[in-house]
């Protein structure tokens, strides 16, 4: 039984669901919910980025650009043009996907550091445009974003709701919503990975030559995964904008791109649960380190460096390996 469970394709998803829905036990005020909601949204973004970086092995140092485009597109359409949130998210995702496809074709021919350079450039260009188009985006000081709504029904972090007879405040409702979105994002990502398309993607990472000689059109698959990860970022960016209620160009910045890729690498490239852990850790760390005042940056840099040096495979894969090694040793001892 336990064995069946451990082998199950969806065990990660189940564990995640259990964690997400039991987390409220440990959350004691709306701020905690808010942090958890942001983590869920960022985690969703990183799960998408991991498809590109962890599974297909293509580096992106500009992913925040797509996140920012998604955020600003929804912000502008709902704010300036009175769209409803859902169509804004959907059209935004399609547009971002299209942009990713157009820029992805030429730059994904590049390899290694050149690819990181090109993605970095794309991210920068997007951030500069957002920063400069003041009429639309409010420029560097940012712009307010209306409350998230589903065809007239509003989900505000400040409202009160009832779900199956349980009273929820807005933060709790948003958290549940974001958790559900994350679960769907993970489910879709796992479906993708565990499929012929997913195999083709992973083969691009494992051995591009091998992939090509068995008939994988690697250029097409690289574009595909680039677009998918950009769409993930766009949707999550849109949700983030609605949740925050206010966005600035920082959501599209190079710094944020680095944060995103760091979450992937820190958590464990190619491990969906790992990158979610990475997002949680990296989102929580600054909140914890604020107690260290001026030492904050030093501590952060040191922790980042040491973790990557001693766990180059990332947090979760390293932990999993340690645990399974220990289990094996114990099993060996019993024999």
């Amino acid at each position: 039984m336990l064995n069946r469970f451990m082998q199950s394709r969806l065990r990660g998803l189940m564990v995640l669901a259990v964690i997400l829905f039991s987390l409220p036990v440990f959350l004691s005020n709306p701020f905690h919910y808010e942090l958890a909601t942001q983590m869920a949204i960022i985690a969703g973004t990183v799960v998408g980025l991991n498809l590109l970086v962890g599974f297909a092995g293509q580096i992106s140092l500009g992913h925040a650009g797509f996140f920012g485009l998604g955020a600003y597109f929804t912000g502008i359409m709902t704010g300036h043009y009175g769209w409803s949130a859902i169509p804004a998210l959907v059209v935004g995702a399609i547009l971002v996907g299209l942009i990713a496809w157009i820029v992805g074709r030429p730059i994904l021919r590049l390899k290694g550091h050149y690819l990181s350079m090109a993605t970095l450039a794309v991210g920068f260009i997007i951030a500069i445009i957002i920063n400069n188009e003041r009429q639309l985006t409010g420029g560097p000081d940012g712009m307010p974003v209306p409350v998230f709504d589903v065809f007239g029904w509003e989900l505000s972090p400040f409202g009160t709701y009832s779900l199956f007879g349980i009273e929820l405040n807005g933060s709790e409702a948003w958290y549940l919503f974001a958790a559900a979105v994350l679960l769907v994002a993970v489910w879709l990502a796992q479906n993708l990975i565990d499929s012929p398309i997913g195999r083709a993607l992973r083969s691009v990472h494992g051995s591009e030559v091998a992939a090509r000689v068995v008939g994988v059109n690697t250029a097409r698959y690289k574009s595909l995964v680039f677009v998918i990860s950009a769409v993930y970022a766009s949707v999550m960016g849109g949700l983030y904008a609605h949740f925050q209620g206010f966005i600035t160009p920082a959501v599209a910045s190079f710094d944020f791109s680095i944060v995103l890729i760091t979450m992937v690498v820190l958590g464990g490239m190619g491990s969906t649960m790992g990158v979610i852990l990475g997002a949680v850790v990296l989102k929580l760390l600054p909140q914890i380190l604020t107690h260290f005042q001026e030492m904050e940056a030093v501590m952060f840099g040191l922790i980042l460096m040491l973790t990557m040096i001693f766990m180059p495979k990332g947090l979760l894969p390293t932990l999993q390996m340690a645990v399974s090694k220990r289990l094996k040793r114990r099993a060996g001892g019993q024999q």
Partner: protein
């Protein structure tokens, strides 16, 4: 008209020379270890800040510069020894994150030691700018160009005429083979990081009178250096210089003739265009994939 053009050109070349010096540092480390060192900009900062704070304590400027450069060299060695070397089998991205962690760490230290203010460093020679056909050139720009040229020549000689330089090249081409012929590759890598740090800190010192200096000056300049190195082609010394100058001139010309709002965007678009036609930069080595 001409004076305008010349002015933009001078501006571009000055900024470009700065980028080129930083790009050379990237190139050096890339050549030796195929690592892109995102902490390269911090060497620049260490150079500038140490010089400023030492002169502030009354140390004569030339001595302060020497000490600053040495300190940066030590940081280069420490970086290689304690951050890069222990993670030798790590992925490219992992190494990038490690160097980013290192740069945040070094910047944090600098902020603790030196505070957050910007600092001035006097020009090396006179303050009066030089006038040529109605355009003006900061005398310090000549220092940047001159020092840049000297360093480029010195690097070429270092790689072609000295045993250590040749050892670094050999290590970059084939680590295994280099080890077989008796090169201590770890030592060589450490040297490469040290030389790169020296280079970066010298750049930091010569540009400080133009840019001012502070604990976070390395972030953007470091990034621009990486951009320049990629345009020129990673691993190519000529490429680093050409890439740096090109980037600087394009920025200045865009700011002058097109739009200062979008000058950085134009610079970044240029990279995309260059890489579209030359996937390994302008002077990058053509590599045939072996299977």
């Amino acid at each position: 008209m001409l004076s305008e053009f010349l002015q933009y050109l001078f501006t571009g070349i000055t900024i470009g020379a700065t980028y080129a010096l930083i790009a050379l540092g990237f190139t050096l480390i890339y050549n030796a270890s195929h690592v892109i060192n995102f902490a390269q900009g911090e060497f620049l900062m260490i150079g500038g800040m140490t010089t400023v704070s030492l002169t502030g304590m009354g140390v004569p400027m030339p001595l302060a510069i020497v000490l600053a450069v040495l300190l940066a060299g030590v940081f280069g060695i420490l970086l290689q020894r304690f951050a890069i070397a222990p993670a030798k089998q790590a992925d490219v991205v992992t190494l990038i994150i490690i160097t980013i962690g290192a740069s945040i760490f070094i910047r944090g230290l600098a902020q603790l030691v030196w505070g957050k203010e910007y600092h001035v460093m006097p020009n090396f020679s006179r303050d009066e700018p030089i006038r040529i056909f109605g355009a003006v050139l900061n005398s310090q720009s000549l220092w940047v160009l001159g020092v840049g040229a000297v360093l480029v020549v010195a690097l070429v000689l270092f790689f072609t005429r000295t045993l250590i330089g040749k050892a670094i090249l050999a290590t970059s081409m084939n680590k295994q083979a280099a080890r077989l012929v008796g090169i201590r590759t770890q030592l060589v890598l450490m040297l490469a990081f040290m030389v790169s740090a020296l280079l970066g800190s010298i750049a930091g010192v010569v540009v400080a009178p133009i840019t001012f200096t502070s604990y976070d000056i390395g972030i953007m300049l470091g990034l621009k250096g990486f951009v320049a190195a990629a345009i020129g082609g990673l691993g190519s010394g000529v490429g680093a210089v050409v890439g740096g100058l090109l980037l600087g001139v394009v920025e200045a010309m865009t700011a002058g003739y097109v739009s200062s709002d979008y000058k950085d965007a134009v610079a970044f678009s240029m990279i995309l265009v260059v890489l579209f036609f030359m996937p390994r930069g302008l002077f990058g080595a053509k590599v045939v994939e072996r299977v």
